[in-house]
Symmetry: C2
Subunit: 275 residues, 2 copies
Amino acid sequence: MTQSVLLEQIKSKKSFLCVGLDVDQDRMPLDLKDDPDSIFTFCKKIIEATAPYCVAYKPNIAFFEAFGSDGWKSLQKVMDFLNKNYPEIFTIADAKRADIGNTSVQYAKAYFKHFEFDSVTIAPYMGKDSVEPFLSYEKKHAILLALTSNDGASDFQLLKTEGKPLYEKVIEQSKKWKNADRLMYVVGATKAQALQKIRTLIPNSFLLIPGVGVQGGSLEEVAINGLNETCGLLVNSSRGIIYASNKSDFDQAAGEVSRGLQQRMAIHLRQKGII
Amino acid sequence: MTQSVLLEQIKSKKSFLCVGLDVDQDRMPLDLKDDPDSIFTFCKKIIEATAPYCVAYKPNIAFFEAFGSDGWKSLQKVMDFLNKNYPEIFTIADAKRADIGNTSVQYAKAYFKHFEFDSVTIAPYMGKDSVEPFLSYEKKHAILLALTSNDGASDFQLLKTEGKPLYEKVIEQSKKWKNADRLMYVVGATKAQALQKIRTLIPNSFLLIPGVGVQGGSLEEVAINGLNETCGLLVNSSRGIIYASNKSDFDQAAGEVSRGLQQRMAIHLRQKGII
């Protein structure tokens, strides 16, 4: 999917919401306990309830991987369901991959060719040749970790290097890579103050913002500091949406929370003149 | 597996060789082209031929992941085969994982509980809480990327931060984490000069050294600069071993290359007084 198609979706749904599919079997609604493929059933119901209010889905690969090949079968079913029924919705493999070049080629093949995701999250530590294989696919995107939402972000990402924090160096360097226009960036919602500075470095790039909700980030701060003229934001909520209820109304509850977030997002999109 | 059990293997086989299973279907021996599970068959034959000469196997997860759930089924078969027939051999999931805490918990579950690997390679960018979940398992190990073998290593890992390169900060910080004695580190063979300095920072830790062979690293330089009193090295070769021949003698050829490396390693182990 191109970024302009994504922007059309954002305008049409008045939303820049991404729903994170972190499907924890320990938190599965009681109704699904006996379902032979509860992971897929759960995702399907969450998707059907939230699709009117979001523009992206972000399966968290670890939660599928924990079940080995069975988990990957469920992931395949989720992606087939999404690509068949909601081809207009942007998909993000939250996988935090990257390795030496010939290995990143294989990871890119997994997410872009096999599962047909639109994008995948990427860890920057191994540098240019570990990321470029993900940038060689037209209409696909690598979403590079810049400044993450967790406590450990301060261990290395904030270290001063050549007078600026490491995450700024990551952003600056990455802009020089081949097909850099296919890059997006992860910036944690808990780091809203840094967004202003980040916007000066990458005014036009899309940012994936996790950490709203359970992790404590503020949607309003993120919108004020992060929105650009073409939106440029995908704000993710996972647990706050998919575990809004653990009873049989879990999908309805997820839909309601999503709708609430969408409505708050619409206000910001209007204020910014995007819709 | 504990590090002392690993050391016993090293002494008994007179080897610190790790065989990397980077199973590229495009480079599969012609004989296996029609095998319905050529990935597993290839790995099985390579393992049977090389097991006398190596102390560790390192499946490269990307090459399995590229085939979705079928690839993960093959990985399961490879791990079942290894754990059943060669329980004394150390296994490394070369996966370069790490994410926020609750997600790293799931990755640790995948590799340590589901597949029963002894260790997994980990990317450090997200810091302490992204790594510690991998350190909470007894007799299991997280192998943290320090200085990698690829060109892109210079993009961020060599950046000066507080007067020293980032990879040294990664090593220093990681030593403070909970159960840090379960950490090992990745140091590329192409960076042999840095090994001396790294040994002053972590004199007792095991280092996983990829990059000997196709990537151009020298086994001799690595041994001279990296061996400690209890060996402390696992030197990996992937393509140089598993693609030594692409004819029907591919397993025999892999065994011969492994034996050659083992014999050179034995000389270094003797010189160091370990055997």
